[in-house]
């Protein structure tokens, strides 16, 4: 027996020894993996478990000059569904798919319940893992969606996949749409969005994400990420109210005349700030839509509005004076093979009139005569003068797509004997509405030509990063004397000339009408075929002390009414009236009222912050009797001779008494204590749902009623 045991014993020990070797080999191999393959494997591990994700920087907002939001980014979601999620079993799916389809159909209202059910079942049977439910889902819809059957079963089982995107939204929709613009992939950027893309877009951040269970990626700590730098905000020069007036006035007029398209630009004389810029184009359906920035992009023959630079040139070069007599004849005059007409040809023409009058009545022949006489021998001198007034250079504004100005040179192939005469009333040259306006603005601005600008400042949060300065294109387009002369002429146009319909008692408008025939691609200017016109009015106001300049251009109005004063003039007037009504500094000063408070009783005040209330009373000279010591918050009581101030104690972690306060102070106080405020009504706080002085529970809801 012991023999057997001994025989077994050595075998057992041998076996144990071998197993120990095996164990050693395992440990050895593990060590070897760490030592020899460790670095490479660790790198691999990182590539598998860690990923660097882009964090999209929030694009900056575009504000109007008054702080109204013109363009902003809102999150929008793409919702997908994994109908073959591992945890979503057959029974659960079919038990809930009907209900889910019903809810989806009810939420989106785009497909019937049956259609939704069919697509969901189809997706499941197809083995799809990424079935599209809906694009462009808004946040409230998403919240609702997450509570739907199946979807609410949790991240894994529910199979709901949500991708967030940022969508650009314009709260004012069409308002100045082309000027605010947009930026999309593969499309030339438009408007301010395009011009200030760099500023608005910011810098994307990076975040290290780690893969955890259920295929979820989770950020790894804070230290390893690059914070996204959100885009800067832009305050545009656009005034929402004026923009609205401009747009609606334009729309009304376009509709009335069934015009093809038109634009309005309102500019501040001194700074060049564009306060309103509206562009409307007739759609095939007969409506109007802002689809192209005509004011900036459309370079056309301006017609009579170009007579201003022509007159300025002749005056500046000393060829004429305003009192010189010009013979305009019977309203028609032959220049080589072409006949020029004045608008009153039917009535026998203007005959002999002063230069001032030529301008006021916008005589084509008169202008042609002035220029022919002045520059007939040296036409290049005329061109050079226009050039000196920066009329041949583009404005180089920040918004892309500016139309190129064109002024025919004497060495051009198409230069002919009639070129000079025709240029005199705005043909054979091309200008965009904004370029013409800039020139008129220079006249209004005492000869200083400033560049139109659309942006006031660039901000980050509340901090101003950059104030955009006014740029001067040409410090002096002409002499002061010339300016005085032409301003008188421009005033004359409204006083007794072609735009007499704009005359008005409150303030004076100075400007020039223009009625040009548009070169039609198919027919040229040919008179026996259909002609389309471009009616315009450009000027500034108030004439004595110009604050704003404005141009209105309406293209292809109906055949019967196409004169600048009738088509474009009323738009100009409506905009100007609105600006005038809004601008106190344009009104004549009213007689100052002394001590208008003294006559009234002691005013009543809401309760609130001590410093503010005391300051207001002090400014107004209201006597105050203060019983409050160092408290920040006070209650007021209006007595016969004074306002009595007493303190209102606010204690940390106790519900404050906000009755009698204004909404702002009340919400500030309550939220500072960690309460959630639910507001009803408006005015002054009448009651509060939580007893003042009771202990605050963070996140608790308090309702305050105002009246």
């Amino acid at each position: 027996m012991t023999e057997v045991k001994k025989d077994i014993a050595w075998r057992v020990y041998l076996l144990y020894f071998l197993v120990c070797l095996f164990g050693l080999a395992i440990i050895g191999k593990a060590v070897a993996i760490q030592l020899f393959e460790g670095d490479e494997l660790k790198k691999k591990a990182q590539s598998l478990t860690l990923i660097e994700r882009n964090i999209e920087a929030v694009r900056g907002n575009i504000y109007a000059t008054d702080g109204s939001l013109l363009a902003t980014s809102i999150p929008i979601y793409e919702v997908r569904f994994d109908p073959n999620s591992g945890a979503l079993d057959e029974e659960f799916f079919y038990a809930n798919v009907d209900s889910l389809a019903w809810h989806l159909s009810k939420l989106f209202k785009d497909k019937s319940m049956a259609a939704y059910r069919k697509s969901l079942v189809h997706a499941r049977n197809n083995g799809s893992r990424y079935h599209l439910i809906q694009r462009n889902v808004k946040y409230p819809e998403l919240k609702e969606l997450q509570e739907f059957p199946i979807f609410r079963a949790g991240k894994y089982k529910g199979g709901l996949i949500v991708h967030q995107q940022n969508k650009r939204e314009r709260p004012f929709k069409l308002l100045a749409a082309r000027t605010i613009g947009y930026e999309r992939e593969d499309v030339l950027p438009v408007g301010l969005e395009g011009a200030y893309s760099d500023v608005l877009s910011g810098v994307d951040g990076k975040r290290l994400m780690q893969k955890i269970a259920g295929g979820v990626w989770m950020p790894v700590g804070d230290e390893s990420e690059i914070e996204p730098e959100d885009g800067r905000d832009i305050y545009s020069t656009i005034d929402v109210n004026l923009q609205d007036v401009a747009e609606s006035a334009l729309l009304k007029q376009l509709q009335m005349h069934k015009a093809d398209h038109g634009c309005v630009v309102l500019m501040e004389v001194e700074t060049g700030e564009i306060k309103a810029i509206a562009n409307l184009k007739r759609t095939s359906g007969g409506g109007y839509y802002e689809s192209y920035n005509y004011a900036i992009g459309e370079s056309t023959e301006p017609g009579s509005t170009f007579k201003l630079p022509v007159l300025v040139a002749a005056l500046e070069d000393g060829f004429v004076d305003m009192d010189d007599i010009i013979d305009c004849g019977d309203g028609s005059k032959q220049y080589y093979d072409r006949t020029m007409y004045d608008s009153n040809y039917d009535e026998g023409g203007w005959g002999k009139i002063t230069v001032q009058r030529v301008f006021e009545v916008s005589s084509n022949i008169g202008m042609a005569e002035i220029v022919s006489k002045a520059y007939g021998q040296h036409p290049q001198k005329f061109i050079d003068r226009l050039d000196k007034m920066s009329l041949r250079d583009p404005l180089n504004i920040e918004i892309a797509g500016e139309g190129k100005p064109y002024i025919k040179n004497t060495d051009a192939n198409s230069w002919s004997g009639i070129s000079l005469a025709w240029m005199a009333h705005g043909y054979e040259v091309k200008q965009t509405p904004l370029q013409i306006l800039t020139y008129y603005n220079a006249i209004a601005n005492d000869g200083v030509m400033v560049k139109p600008r659309f942006v006031e400042k660039i901000t980050k949060g509340r901090k101003v990063i950059k104030e955009v300065e006014t740029e001067i294109i040409n410090p002096r387009v002409c002499s002061k004397e010339t300016i005085n002369k032409v301003r008188k002429a421009l005033e004359g146009v409204v006083e007794s000339g072609t735009a007499a319909n704009l005359r008005n008692a409150d303030y004076k408008i100075a400007g020039k009408t223009g009625t040009a025939q548009i070169a039609n691609k198919n027919y040229g200017y040919s008179y026996n075929s259909r002609v389309s016109h471009q009616a315009s009015f450009v000027g500034y106001f108030p004439a004595d002390n110009p604050q704003y300049s404005c141009i209105v251009v309406v293209n292809a109005p109906s055949q019967y009414v196409y004169y600048g004063n009738l088509v474009a003039g009323p738009i100009f007037k409506e905009v100007a009236d609105k600006v005038y009504a809004n601008s106190l500094d344009m009104h004549e000063e009213l007689k100052k009222q002394e001590n208008f408070l003294a006559s009234s009783a002691i005013p009543y005040s809401k309760h609130g912050e001590k410093r503010t209330i005391e300051k207001v009373f002090k400014e107004l000279g209201v006597p105050v009797i203060s019983k409050a010591k160092d408290e920040d918050w006070i209650v007021t009581e209006t007595k016969d001779t004074a306002v009595v101030i007493d303190e209102r104690r606010i204690t940390e972690n106790l519900v404050p008494n906000v009755v009698g306060m204004g909404l702002r102070d009340a919400v500030y106080l309550l939220e500072n204590q960690g309460l959630r405020v639910d507001v009803k009504g408006r005015g002054m706080v009448k009651s509060q749902s939580l007893q003042a002085g009771s202990r605050v529970q963070r996140g608790q809801k308090i309702q305050i009623e105002l009246s």
């Binding site: 057992v12 095996f22 993996i33 089982k157 259920g214």
Partner: protein, 382 residues
């Protein structure tokens, strides 16, 4: 304390090692279960924590009862188990539930627990071998008297396991051969058998590699190819396991901080050793290896002390079988062996594996407990 020890008999070191392994098991399984929890329980990891703890609890009950029973009864029980195991294996092979396209599992009705029939067969066969070897000790070197009657059941059982689970069959076969060697069967027979086995295996591999079967054979083919070609594209599991080991370092990432658990297939079972090293470092790995070596050492001691050959072979056979399986599992995790589906005894999650392991340990403890008694009797008689 003393009152508990009154009921607990047998080798205290084995009790302690089992308890330690069970504790480690709970820790590591709880950490590595996340993926599974997300897949089936909506992220509820506690579900698995409770389930696993309960299974371990039941396991220790089984261990307790097994060690209470005098080990001499296991001689008879082994026969009964074997008679149950053979038809069950056949039944599983034909109808069993498929995991990794291997028909290894049977569902036990009522408790709804999947059950790997080969676990039962393994336990039965080892006990049976101990019985046969001890009974035939007188003619142990004889071919007809000893080798043949012992070899036939081994071949039947392994043959039935083989189609569904090559690695278990191979492991059980090796364990059986080792047991036969310990039981003093003629080494010449064993060596010639191994030679035949190797040749057969060679032929088998050649057939597999040249076939385009899918299903089980396809899986084998892939695994063999993966191992041979090393860093092949499909060798995902091994790579993940190695990453886990490499990133674990000496002291590991800390409990519950494994990241590879999200990539490793079965981080709570087949590759649990990789998870251990990732979270507890080489230190944790060495501890696990040492615990198993201690377990085997105690098996050796018990076997030496056992007054009868049956007890001696039973103790060493079962403890070797357990530790051998553990070593295979760990060898797979460190890529010393090709990928197999062997759980780490007592540590990996999985009901029947733990229960049969506990049963085996209980039997070893029974040998230890009752041989002490027998020795006491002998001493008192003398």
């Amino acid at each position: 304390m003393q009152s508990i020890f009154k009921y607990i008999k047998g080798d205290r070191v084995i009790w302690a090692v089992s308890l330690l392994l069970a504790i480690i098991s709970v820790l590591v399984v709880y950490s590595s279960i996340v993926t599974l929890a997300y897949k089936y329980q909506g992220g509820n990891t506690e579900f698995y924590l409770f389930k696993h703890s309960i299974i371990l609890g039941v396991g220790f009950f089984l261990m307790y009862f097994a060690h209470k029973l005098n080990y001499k009864y296991y001689s008879r029980i082994s026969q009964i188990f074997l008679f149950i195991a053979v038809p069950l294996l056949l039944f599983t092979l034909l109808t069993g539930a498929s995991i990794n396209s291997a028909s290894r599992w049977l569902m036990i009705p009522v408790i709804n627990q999947s059950f790997q029939t080969s676990d039962l067969a393994k336990l039965a066969l080892i006990m049976f071998l101990a019985r046969m070897l001890s009974k035939r000790q007188d003619n142990i070197k004889d071919f007809n008297q000893a080798f043949l009657p012992i070899m036939i059941p081994v071949l039947i059982i392994c043959g039935l396991i083989l189609p569904a689970n090559f690695s278990t069959a191979a492991m059980l076969f090796v364990t059986s051969l080792v047991l036969m060697f310990l039981g003093r069967i003629n080494v010449a027979y064993i060596i010639s058998l191994i030679t035949i086995g190797v040749v057969c295996l060679g032929i088998f591999i050649a057939i597999v590699m040249n076939s385009d079967y899918t299903g089980r054979i396809g899986t084998w083919k892939n695994r063999i190819e993966n191992y041979i070609e090393g860093d092949a594209q499909g060798n995902y599991q091994v790579e993940q396991s190695k990453i886990a080991i490499a990133t674990g370092g000496v002291i590991g990432k800390g409990p519950g901080r494994s990241t590879q658990r999200n990539f490793l297939p079965h981080p709570y079972s087949d590759f649990i050793f990789a998870t251990v090293i990732e979270e507890y470092g080489l230190f944790g790995g060495v501890v696990i290896v040492l615990l198993y070596l201690i377990l085997l050492y105690r098996g050796v001691v018990i076997s030496r002390k056992a007054p009868r050959t049956f007890g001696s072979l039973l103790a060493i056979g079962l403890s070797f079988s357990l530790v051998f399986q553990a070593m295979i599992n760990m060898a797979v995790a460190v890529n010393l062996f090709p990928v197999t589906g062997q759980p780490l005894p007592l540590v990996s999650m999985g009901g029947t594996s733990i229960w049969f392991t506990c049963l085996a340990i209980g039997i070893i403890l029974s040998v230890s407990a009752h041989s002490e008694k027998e020795l006491e009797k002998e001493v008192s008689h003398a």
